[in-house]
């Protein structure tokens, strides 16, 4: 049993506001959507055919308990499209941002002059509004007056406008996602690099260690806790991709005009299901549960792998 010491009381008191808010806005919604995902024909209003013993939990009415919400998700072609898109986004953006972030951080750490200037430059995207950044990307890749098309003399080629292919739109989306996510990763890696004892590098230098070996055998292992942290949070972030798509294609659309579900993501799918009038709320909940399980599984796998590779 935990002992309730005098100091514990102060600690709990200090934590209370956060815990209360977390309980209200994080823990309860998680439990609630878990429950809701199993409630069939759930509605916040309307008359129940029968009072169910667990009705009070969800705060609404429903017809029965079962897996029909999940079946509905799995039968929806949009879900499979969203799953495919999200997987591609994860697989493309996570490795590139982590590796690119690491390389840029190492490069930044290596320069002597103007270091803080370049650090500021690379950190700017982080403090820039993501929607504004999306607008910039939108105009850069615009089919008529976009910078890219002008540069490569391909005016009229649709990247994100009507007629764009999946590949081209995904390219723009990934470029945007990587650019947007890079700054924070660089910052974390840079602070990690600066905490590595310089003597390791001097020792490596005295032993005539080639650069790539210094990077792979010394920097990467010593930075591995940070790399794990960044990889896991990047995976989670990429699986939850939503606002990036909206930022590129505009409110309510996940693709170019005429094909507005082309790059729909899982979160986008869930969000859509919430607003579809014929759709019970349970379907969106079921979608969230599926996303939750995917993220949890992948995180667990990563922790398992990291046991051998991460050196604390």
């Amino acid at each position: 049993m935990l002992e309730f010491k005098k100091d514990d009381f102060k600690a709990w008191l200090a934590l209370a506001p956060t815990l209360l808010l977390m309980a209200l806005f994080t823990f309860w919604p998680i439990i609630n959507s878990f429950v809701m995902s199993f409630l069939e024909g759930f509605s916040f209003t309307g008359m129940p055919p029968e009072r169910h013993p667990y009705a009070w939990i969800a705060g609404g009415t429903f017809e029965s308990v079962g897996f029909s919400n999940f079946t509905q998700v799995f039968l929806d072609p949009d879900f499979w499209l969203a799953l495919k898109n999200t997987f591609y986004m994860v697989i493309i953006s996570v490795p590139i941002t982590v590796i690119l972030g690491l390389l840029i951080a190492v490069a930044l750490n290596g320069i002597k002059r103007f270091q803080s200037f370049f650090q500021t430059v690379f950190f700017l995207p982080y403090v820039t509004n993501t929607i504004a950044l999306g607008l910039v990307f939108g105009s850069v890749f615009h089919s008529e007056y976009g910078l890219i098309n002008n540069l490569f003399n391909t005016v009229g080629l649709a990247w994100i406008n009507s007629g764009a292919t999946w590949g081209r739109s995904m390219f723009v989306l990934m470029a945007y996602t990587i650019w947007n996510g890079l700054a924070f990763k660089i910052l974390v890696f840079l602070s990690g690099l600066q905490s590595i004892d310089k003597q390791y590098y001097q020792a490596a230098q005295v032993d005539a260690t080639p650069r790539w070996r210094v990077f792979l055998k010394i920097t990467v292992p010593l930075l591995s806790p940070m790399i794990l942290y960044i990889t896991i949070t990047s995976f989670i972030g990429a699986f939850k991709a939503y606002s990036s798509v909206i930022a590129i294609f505009g409110t309510g659309s996940y693709g170019p005009v005429g094909n507005d579900k082309m790059l729909i993501t899982i979160v986008g799918f869930i969000y859509d299901k919430l607003w579809e009038s014929s759709m019970p709320f349970g379907v969106a909940s079921a979608g969230s549960m599926i996303l939750f399980i995917i993220i949890m599984l992948i995180t667990l796998i990563q922790f398992q792998i990291s046991k051998k590779r991460v050196h604390y």
Partner: protein, 377 residues
């Protein structure tokens, strides 16, 4: 099994049954100067016109208080710092502009800098892998080096599973495994507790003797330097003060600083004057004659063990404190009418009391100029 092995360093034999002998070379530093400029533009001269010849195959201690430039000198020899002026020679090679990786040095850092994510074996093999030495040979060489420093059974541990002394040995093995021309040790004993220190310094001496490598180590601990060095170099303010065998430096210091820096308990200093060729102390009594110098203020240096209590002693003092240290007794005395004190080591059989007036004679006396510290006698 392949019997022949590739020798990467011409002089050495990689047959593990033979003793590991390394090539000994002389290290010469000529007028070495290193200045550091801080952000405000303030210049600090860490090493000042420093010249020294380190004989081949010797263990040399660079000794001095913190900030005296001894570590900077070591890093200059290693090539991790670039000198502003002067030259460095390894044997006949001028290595002044040679990058550290091409100098053929083994460097043991103060906190060892063992890679924490690698095992002892991987740490020791690391320099060999950089030299692209075949894995099998690298493993053998790592093992024979580990056995030389007596850590053969710890090869699969990680550094954080080792004691400080064991880590030190791993660091030495890693430095020696590539058969360097010079071994450099930065404060090798400062991270160890007192008992390990004693053991490790003998160990360093043994390893150095067995391999015959020219070894330079840095320390601020005079006892450490004196106990294992073939010769010591005393530094202060970036300047070489004296270089000689430890005992010679102790017995014949060239100046006040060296005399004060060596010896524990420290040397007694006692203000005096030279007047008409005579050495005169506070109460105007003449201590010594025959000083062929102008009249000047001087400092007398008397090592505690040089002092004897004697009926016709020349220096009167009042016992303030008596400390029994086994065989001997240490007494601390006030010199009347001054604020100066004397520390003396006397045989325990003497009956002494606090407050008693005693007179000291001495077996040896140093006299230094008070301002320059230069030794007059």
């Amino acid at each position: 099994m392949e019997k022949e092995k590739i020798n990467f360093t011409d002089e050495t034999n990689s047959n593990p049954s033979k003793k590991i002998e390394l090539k000994s070379i002389e290290v010469r530093l000529q007028n070495l100067t290193k200045e550091f400029v801080d952000k405000a533009g303030k210049v600090t001269i860490a090493v000042n016109d420093f010249s020294v010849v380190i004989p081949a195959g010797k263990l040399i201690g660079l000794l001095g208080p913190s900030g005296c430039g001894k570590s900077t000198t070591l890093y200059l020899i290693a090539g991790l710092h670039k000198p502003n002026a002067g030259r460095i020679f390894f044997g006949e090679d001028d290595v002044t502009n040679t990058p550290p990786e091409q100098r053929g040095i083994g460097l043991v850092f103060q906190n060892y800098a063992l890679y924490p994510h690698m095992t002892v074996r991987q740490n020791i093999m690391f320099p060999l892998e950089n030299m692209k030495i075949p894995k099998q040979e690298a493993r053998e060489r790592a093992m024979e080096m580990a056995e030389l420093v007596h850590i053969g059974e710890l090869m699969d541990r990680k550094p954080n599973q080792l004691s400080g002394g064991q880590q030190q040995r791993v660091a030495i093995a890693r430095a020696l495994v590539k058969k360097p021309r010079v071994l450099l040790l930065d404060e090798p004993l400062s991270n160890l507790d007192a008992r390990l220190r004693l053991q490790t310094r003998e160990e360093i001496k043994r390893i150095q003797r067995e391999t015959g490598i020219t070894t330079i180590f840095v320390t601020h601990d005079q006892e450490e330097a004196m106990s294992i060095s073939d010769e010591i170099v005393v530094m202060n303010y970036g300047l070489k003060q004296q270089m000689d065998k430890p005992q010679s430096v102790y017995e014949e210091p060239v100046n006040h600083f060296v005399a004060k820096f060596l010896g524990n308990p420290p040397i007694n200093t006692y203000d005096a004057k030279i007047k008409n060729g005579q050495l005169v102390i506070q109460d105007n009594s003449v201590v010594e004659k025959g000083f062929d110098y102008e009249d000047q203020e001087v400092v007398m240096g008397l090592r505690p063990e040089y002092l004897r209590i004697s009926q016709n002693g020349k220096i009167p003092a009042v016992i303030d404190f008596i400390e029994h240290i086994g065989r001997d007794t240490m007494i601390i005395c006030d010199i009347p009418e001054t604020d100066q004190r004397l520390r003396a080591i006397v045989p325990s059989d003497k009956e002494l009391k606090v407050g008693q007036l005693v007179k000291f004679n001495y077996s040896k006396l140093f006299v230094f100029n008070k301002e320059t510290g230069e030794r007059l006698r």
